[in-house]
C-alpha cells in the first residue's frame, strides 16, 4: 500500500456525524462485534474509508467489511451484514 493509499484510511471518529444522522445517537463509543473474527471495537477505533462511492467501515483486527453506507437522493443505504452485534449506550 502506498503512503497515499494508507492515508486514505480514517477511523470511526470521522463518521461520527454521519452515524448520528442515521442513529440519532452518539455512536463513536458504541461497540461492534466483527462478524468475521469476533473482535470487539468501539466505533471510534474501526477503520473507515470515505473515498469509495460511499463509506466503507472495516474491522481493524481482520479487515472484514463491517458496514457500508451510501447516502444520496434523500436516502441512506446501510449494509451491516459484517457486524454481528452493536452495543449502544443509552443516552441518559
Amino acid at each position: 500500500m502506498t503512503v497515499e493509499q494508507a492515508d486514505m484510511k480514517l477511523d470511526g471518529n470521522a463518521i461520527g456525524g454521519l452515524l448520528a444522522e442515521i442513529f440519532n445517537m452518539e455512536m463513536t463509543t458504541a461497540e461492534g462485534t466483527c462478524g468475521g473474527c469476533g473482535a470487539v471495537n468501539a466505533v471510534g477505533r474501526v477503520d473507515v474509508y470515505v473515498n469509495a462511492p460511499g463509506t466503507v467501515v472495516r474491522c481493524p483486527a481482520c479487515g472484514n467489511v463491517l458496514m457500508r453506507i451510501v447516502h444520496g437522493r434523500g436516502r441512506y443505504w446501510i449494509d451491516m451484514s459484517g457486524i454481528r452485534t452493536l452495543e449502544l449506550v443509552e443516552p441518559a
Binding site: 503512503v3 497515499e4 494508507a6 492515508d7 486514505m8 484510511k9 480514517l10 477511523d11 470511526g12 471518529n13 470521522a14 461520527g16 456525524g17 448520528a20 444522522e21 440519532n24 445517537m25 452518539e26 463513536t28 463509543t29 468501539a42 466505533v43 471510534g44 477505533r45 470515505v50 473515498n51 443516552p91 441518559a92
Partner: protein, 250 residues
C-alpha cells in the same frame, strides 16, 4: 449527564464568525458564536458545511480547539491548497460572516478534567487541535493531571499555538511540551529535529504504572507509527486513543 454529551437531533446551526487569528502562514483559528450551543467536550469535533448558490454543498469535519469552558466554539483550520472547504475558511472567511455547522460530534476521542491518570498527548501537524482543547480544558479547570505533549511539526513557523503552549508550560510545571521539527529548524534549536522515533517515545512515555491515558492525532501514517511505537514500549493498546485525518481533500 455531563454537559455536551446529549446529542439530541444533530441539526445544522448558523454561527457567526467572532474573530479570526492567523496561527501560522497556512493555519487560522476561527472563533464562532453559535446560538444555543449545547456545550462540548475536549476532543470533539464539528461538521462545517458550505453551500454554493447553485445548491452544491461541501462538508468537512474540524476538531474543536476551544475549551468547553469557552463561550465560543473555535476551530483551527489548515489551508490545503487543493481543498474545497479549507481555502474558503482560511483566506475568504471574514469577521461576522455566517457559517453553517453541526455538533458537537464524537464521544470516543474525548478527555474530561479532572484526570485520574497521567496524560500523554502526541500530535502530528494540525492533529494538535483536539489535544489543545484538552490542554486548554485542563488549564481552565485548574486541573493538575501531569501531561506531556509530544508535538511534531515541519518547521518552527509551522508550530500551531507555539506561544500559548510556551506560556502555559512556563506557568505550570505539570505541563511538559516537547517539539520535534521534521524539515527545518532554526539555529540554536533545542528540541528534536527528526521524525518521530523510538527514542522520542521512550523519552516522553510515562511509566506503564499507573496506566496513562494516551491521545494521538495526526495524519494516518503518523498516528499508526506513534501507536505502534507505544505498544512496542509496553503500553496496552486499550490505553491509546487515536484520531486519524487522511487525504480527504480539506
Amino acid at each position: 449527564m455531563a454537559r455536551g454529551t446529549v446529542l439530541g437531533r444533530l441539526g445544522w446551526r448558523i454561527g457567526e464568525v467572532a474573530g479570526i487569528t492567523a496561527e501560522t502562514p497556512k493555519v487560522s483559528s476561527i472563533a464562532i458564536d453559535v446560538p444555543d450551543w449545547p456545550g462540548h467536550l475536549a476532543g470533539q469535533h464539528v461538521d462545517v458545511r458550505l453551500s454554493a448558490e447553485d445548491g452544491y454543498q461541501a462538508q468537512r469535519s474540524y476538531s474543536i480547539a476551544s475549551a468547553p469552558e469557552d463561550r465560543r466554539v473555535t476551530i483551527t483550520v489548515e489551508r490545503l491548497d487543493d481543498g474545497e472547504v479549507s481555502p474558503y475558511l482560511v483566506g475568504e472567511l471574514r469577521d461576522m460572516d455566517k457559517i453553517e455547522l453541526r455538533g458537537p460530534i464524537g464521544g470516543f476521542f474525548v478527555w474530561r478534567a479532572p484526570g485520574d491518570r497521567p496524560l500523554l498527548l502526541i500530535a502530528g501537524g494540525s492533529g494538535v487541535v483536539p489535544l489543545m482543547a484538552m490542554i486548554r480544558h485542563r488549564a481552565a479547570a485548574h486541573d493538575r493531571t501531569p501531561v506531556r505533549l509530544l508535538y511534531s511539526s515541519r518547521s518552527f513557523e509551522d508550530v500551531i499555538y507555539r506561544e500559548e503552549l510556551e506560556r502555559l508550560a512556563a506557568a505550570d510545571p505539570s505541563l511538559d511540551v516537547r517539539h520535534t521539527l521534521t524539515r527545518s529548524h532554526p539555529d540554536g534549536w533545542r528540541g528534536y529535529a527528526r521524525r518521530l522515533d523510538r527514542q522520542m517515545i521512550d523519552d516522553a512515555a510515562w511509566p506503564a504504572q499507573p496506566a496513562p491515558a494516551v491521545f494521538i492525532c495526526g495524519p494516518t501514517s503518523f498516528v499508526e507509527a506513534a501507536a505502534s511505537l507505544l505498544v512496542d514500549h509496553g503500553y496496552d493498546p486499550g490505553w491509546i486513543k487515536t484520531e486519524r485525518f487522511g487525504a480527504t481533500g480539506g
